[in-house]
């Protein structure tokens, strides 16, 4: 469950029923005394979704019985993750997204536009019936000026709208058909210990695609290799953890190192999402990595590195040493972050480097100054934060420097910067001690 998901706690079903009468017949008191609904009942599921959308987002939805009924808390996780990514990578006043396979509900564009007022969408699907319902749902929520629903050909490019659009996109999103065939669907159910918690009303076109979800997302990736920076972040949800490693290998094969993996846990349901970008803006580790041990060796490298400085007495002293060191590095600009300190005793600086002037080779004049061809793009942007770590067991206060890679193509430049600064800070701290 995304930390900002308001459905972290189950809703009060009785209250929902009171405020949305069509839900009333489905709510009952279970053996623990709390009100709930029968998730295995299709009409109950549908009315719950309608209730949540109406009451919490002011959205009205018309759903056919023969298409997937989207569970709101689950869908919301993906939207919230995208919100995080967009906040860190997009500087435009209007955010443009592509929802691949929007379905009859067009739930993703509707939810997202309900939450964010400057997001616009193109929503695509191959199924005519889904398209009809999607268009209706967009209209009945007066979102026609923000959400454009388009039918695309199943044998044509998945990212078709990206080819024809004059404007760049900020993200693509996709909830792909998870399975490769009807046998795959039943096999998958067989391997599970428990029967599914909820019942699924999805049509074949929504559940099954040749080669399954791995193949579908791989197709999106290969198409994105042509489009590259036409879109900032390409993302997709995945229903099976086993789908992830093959896709990550594909990324690495094509030298895409700016990617993210995340997990959505909703009650008993677990889903994953991956994203990749051809741009240089890097994501904070909280959005790009998960702690699941099974995924550790395919996780993207950490974008936050830290060095400990047992010799520093306080964050202020460490910050002072840091400032001294940064002042001596040529060709960088340092600004203080305007955000208030998240932790007590911490301060953050943002470093903007036009070229690598600190590596040993650079300092010895051996490295030609690698100024980016595009003068506007820095070779490295990273933030440096000083944090105190007080220990209850000893009276020593240890301090750390946290380096977060914000932007850049070459990871080695980021790492060499952190090593250089840490070395210099250590010797500067020593000088402080000698002076005192």
């Amino acid at each position: 469950m995304h930390p900002r998901n308001p459905y972290n706690k189950p809703p009060d079903f009785a209250d929902l029923a009171r405020r949305y009468p069509p839900l009333r017949p489905h709510v009952f008191i279970n053996h623990t005394g709390s009100s709930t609904i029968n998730f295995k009942n299709l009409p109950a599921q549908k009315h719950l979704t309608e209730a949540l959308l109406r009451l919490d987002y002011g959205l009205s939805l018309t759903l056919p019985d023969d298409r997937l009924c989207p569970p709101v808390p689950n869908r919301l996780n993906y939207v919230l993750w995208l919100q995080d990514i967009v906040k860190f990578t997009c500087g435009s006043a209007t955010v443009r997204g592509l929802d691949i396979g929007t379905g009859a509900s067009a739930i993703y564009p509707l939810l997202a536009c309900g939450i964010e007022h400057n997001w616009n969408f193109i929503a695509t699907d191959v199924d005519e019936r889904s398209i009809q319902f999607a268009k209706q749902n967009v209209s009945q929520n007066s979102m026609d000026s923000r959400i454009v629903v388009e039918r695309v050909q199943a044998d044509g490019p998945i990212l078709q709208p990206l080819h024809t659009s004059l404007m760049d996109f900020d993200f693509t999103m996709c909830n792909p058909p998870f399975y490769s065939s009807a046998e795959d669907v039943s096999r998958s159910a067989e391997f599970k210990e428990f029967s599914p918690n909820a019942v699924c009303s999805g049509a074949e076109v929504e559940m099954i695609t040749p080669g399954g979800e791995t193949n579908f997302v791989a197709r999106i990736f290969l198409e994105s290799l042509q489009l590259r920076m036409k879109c900032r972040w390409y993302t997709s949800m995945l229903g099976k953890m086993s789908s992830i490693p093959d896709l990550i290998s594909l990324f690495r094969e094509h030298c895409v190192d700016n990617y993210a993996i995340t997990e959505f846990v909703q009650g008993q349901t677990r889903r994953w999402a991956i994203g990749w970008s051809f741009q240089d803006a890097r994501l904070p580790d909280t959005f790009a990595r998960v702690s699941n041990p099974a995924l550790q060796n395919i996780m993207p490298s950490r974008n936050t590195l830290h060095h400990a400085f047992p010799g520093a007495r306080s964050a202020d002293i460490l910050a002072s040493a840091l400032r001294n060191v940064l002042a001596l590095i040529n060709g960088i600009t340092v600004t203080s972050s305007a955000t208030p300190a998240i932790h007590d005793h911490s301060s953050t600086m943002l470093v903007h480097a036009r070229s690598n002037t600190w590596s040993r080779a650079a300092r010895r004049g051996k490295l030609p100054e690698t100024i980016c061809a595009d003068q506007d793009l820095p070779v490295l942007r990273c933030s440096v934060e000083c944090r105190e770590r007080s220990s209850y067991t000893s009276s020593d206060i240890a301090c750390d420097l946290f380096f977060t890679w914000v932007e850049g193509k070459d990871r080695l430049i980021f790492e060499s910067f952190t090593n250089h600064v840490s070395r210099k800070v250590t010797s500067t701290l020593q000088e402080f001690v000698d002076v005192i």
Binding site: S92, M167, T339
Partner: protein, 277 residues
């Protein structure tokens, strides 16, 4: 030659409303907000019907354009536009020029650390408005690196009929915000076609025309402004819904709708067209 627009002309028959922007001040123009951050960076832009230049200045100051030219038929408005440029410059932080040596990528890059977007505003509204009232505007230094305000100029011209010296250099982007109705009513179908043709001519190949056309049902109020407009309106056969087709015939791509902005009578779509032949 600029059309003589008399200072005592009370009726803005060209859509040349005085105080258009000061009556509805904005921090960020909502139509510009539909265009991505990188859209204007390094580009040569023409703003047709720029009025008092509020949008023109925003593009030059905050959007990283290499050059922005604003044109309007009304000389009073153009003089006000130069003054607006001076005011915007006067309120800007003195550091704005130093942090970015070249003509700048949008400062929104700094947002990545969660820096509030207000750092943008605070750099552009560094001095309180009272400073200019009390002490007059700040002087503009000699042409620096080409950053704002040197990248913004204004000209009085009836751009449907006459050329300005910047036109032959060709533009990357031409903006027609809330202008088509006025060109249409004053110059009829032929004049509007001539305008679209000129836009096409002065755009580079691959250049973009951003059009915000007023809907047909808003023409009725406008044509009552003068006998000329009332008379002209009788002969109009083209409709805003047909502009896209016209533009395609001229050599533009199919129009793409970026969105709809404005409330009530001001509710207008914003469409983009690519010059592809």
């Amino acid at each position: 030659m600029p059309l003589p627009v008399h200072a005592d002309q009370a009726v803005p028959v060209y859509g040349n409303y005085h105080g258009y922007y000061s009556k509805r001040p904005f921090i960020q123009d909502p139509r510009l907000a539909l265009l991505p951050a990188e859209f204007f960076v390094g580009k040569r832009v023409l703003d047709v019907g720029c009025n008092e230049g509020w949008v023109t200045c925003e593009i030059g100051q905050s959007r990283g354009a290499r050059q922005v030219v604003g044109v309007d038929i009304d000389d009073t408005l153009i003089r006000a536009a130069w003054k607006r440029r001076r005011t915007v410059w006067s309120l800007q932080s003195p550091e704005c020029g130093h942090l970015r040596e070249e003509s700048c990528p949008p400062p929104k890059r700094q947002r990545v650390l969660g820096d509030a977007p207000t750092t943008d505003h605070s750099a552009h509204n560094y001095f309180p408005a009272s400073c200019e009232h009390s002490y007059g505007s700040l002087p503009i230094p000699n042409r620096g690196c080409g950053a704002f305000p040197h990248n913004v100029t204004f000209r009085t011209v009836d751009w449907v009929k006459d050329e300005i010296p910047d036109d032959p250099n060709q533009y990357d982007i031409v903006l027609g915000f809330s202008i088509s109705k006025w060109i249409h009513l004053n110059n009829k179908d032929e004049g509007l076609k001539e305008f679209f043709y000129r836009v096409h001519q002065c755009l580079k190949m691959g250049g973009i025309f951003v059009l915000e056309p007023q809907p047909w049902d808003t023409y009725s109020k406008a044509r009552r402004m003068s006998e000329t407009l009332k008379e002209n309106a009788k002969y109009l056969q083209l409709r805003p819904d047909g502009f896209g087709e016209l533009l395609q015939e001229l050599g533009f791509s199919h129009g793409q709708r970026l969105g709809v902005t404005g409330k009530g009578g001001f509710r207008r779509p914003v469409d983009v067209y690519l010059k592809q032949r």
